[in-house]
């Protein structure tokens, strides 16, 4: 077998000098550059991890040390070692416990009396590789969890059968005003007005029937303080802790909708003004034009000239009044005005 040319820095926590020497021999057989850092007590070992942890590839730990042993030793060493794989070395008498050590976080265990260069080497390589993968997995989980929790848009996960909230992100907590704990005790049905229940159930049915992203449109939701908001809902199916669930994006579009309503209200006011222009303004105006026509072209009939002139004056005042009123209406049109109402 070829000798591994990579440099390895290995902490060996072992109080028996004979065992330490043997381990050293085995390592030299398989590794061209093993650098062994010896420690004889838990305390010493932990100090080395604290000082040089970043440069260590693996820790070999004897199960019985003068200052600590057994479960307590493993638990504390695992906690101290962080990302570094930990291999437990044990005698025959401790085999039952060795198995338990794996569940406490050790990467592997080796029985000293059966130790050989190749079994030690293999265990080191396997442990390092496994640790790497599990770190990557943890990293990836963390990234996805952050995508959810740090998303600027409110999101939650809810159970497709019970509508129970299974998870909520910070933006949702912020937007709705419920704490995380409050959310997790509620269901989606608790944050919608009664008349939206049928639509929400229908949306859930669609979610059950469809794989992939679904756009459900706008729903009304209620915040903790009672305020009604409009949210644009999109969802996608996921399995969450063994349950059929969906991850929901609830984009608050209240402001946008209020703006649209305000604009529609303005349009209505403008229509009213246009109507006034067309109908009311022209009434006195056409009357004046008619009177002038008569005065100019005809004998005035039953009415005398003075009366017609009086009508002309009163019509012009009427016209003036209407134009002032229109002007006032136009000034009253204000985006903020409509927005707040």
């Amino acid at each position: 077998m070829l000798v591994n040319p990579n440099p390895y820095q290995i902490l060996v926590v072992e109080d028996n000098p004979g065992d330490l020497m043997l381990i050293g021999e085995y390592l030299k057989e398989k590794l061209s550059v093993p650098r062994i850092i010896p420690a004889t007590t838990f305390k010493e070992g932990r100090q080395i991890v604290a000082d040089q942890g970043a440069t260590l590839q693996v820790i070999l730990l004897d199960l019985s040390l003068p200052d600590k042993s057994g479960e307590e030793l493993i638990t504390e060493m695992v906690a101290a070692s962080g990302n570094i794989p930990l291999i437990v070395l044990t005698g025959y008498g401790d085999i039952a416990f060795s198995v338990k050590s794996l569940s406490l976080g050790a990467s592997d265990y080796l029985v000293k009396d059966e130790l050989s260069a190749s079994s030690l080497y293999k265990s080191i390589l396997y442990s390092m590789e496994r640790k790497k993968h599990s770190m990557e997995l943890k990293d990836s989980e963390k990234r996805y969890s952050e995508l959810f929790h740090l998303s600027p848009l409110p999101m939650w996960v809810d159970d497709l059968e019970s509508f129970q909230f299974l998870n909520v992100n910070a933006a949702a907590i912020d937007n709705y005003g419920y704490s995380r704990e409050e959310f997790l005790k509620m269901s989606v049905l608790d944050i919608i007005p009664c008349d939206e229940v049928a639509r929400v159930r229908e949306a859930a049915r669609r979610s059950v029937a469809t794989k992939g992203l679904l756009r459900h449109g706008n729903f009304r939701n209620r915040k903790k303080d009672g305020t009604l908001i409009f949210v644009d809902i999109q969802s996608n199916r996921i399995h969450f802790k063994g349950r059929e669930a969906r991850v929901v994006l609830a984009n608050d579009v209240t402001e946008r909708i209020n703006h649209i309503t305000a604009i529609e209200q303005q349009n209505e006011k403008l229509r009213q003004i246009a109507w006034t222009q067309s109908h009311l303004v022209r009434a006195p105006l056409t009357r004046m034009m008619g009177i002038v026509d008569i005065l100019k072209n005809f004998s005035t009939g039953e009415m005398n000239r003075e009366d017609l002139l009086d009508h002309l004056i009163s019509s012009s005042h009427e016209l003036d009044g209407i134009i002032r009123k229109i002007n006032q209406q136009t000034e009253n049109i204000d985006l903020k005005d409509g927005y707040e109402s």
Partner: protein, 139 residues
Amino acid sequence: MSHEVLIVDDDQMVLYLHKMLVQQSGFYPDPRTFDQAKEAVDYILQGTDQEKMYVVLLDINMPVMNGWEFLEKINGSGIRDQVLVVMITSSIDKADREKAAQYPLVIDYLEKPVNITVLKRLRERLLLDRFFRNGPGDQ
């Protein structure tokens, strides 16, 4: 066949002006004026002469009963074949003109102010249509 011209407008001054123009243009010597559309409807419905034609110069924008309601009332009555309507309105709203065109009994749509030339032209048109062949307007 006899005929009669009615002027319907809530504005007394307009009634006076239109009456004068109708007379001066030779359209009709003695038009009857109504400042309430409802009264004009009642007048037409109470008529007993089944041969008589009514030409109504009708304003749109009026309180209580407006021009559209007037048209609906007449349109829904048995007398509608005896009524011809000329809308005369201060509205320059296109929608009003389009709406008026949907009533078969509306034969023209005039924007205020109307003058003597417009009324003479309307009279000639009605003569050509032979509505006035035997009536007093043809004298």
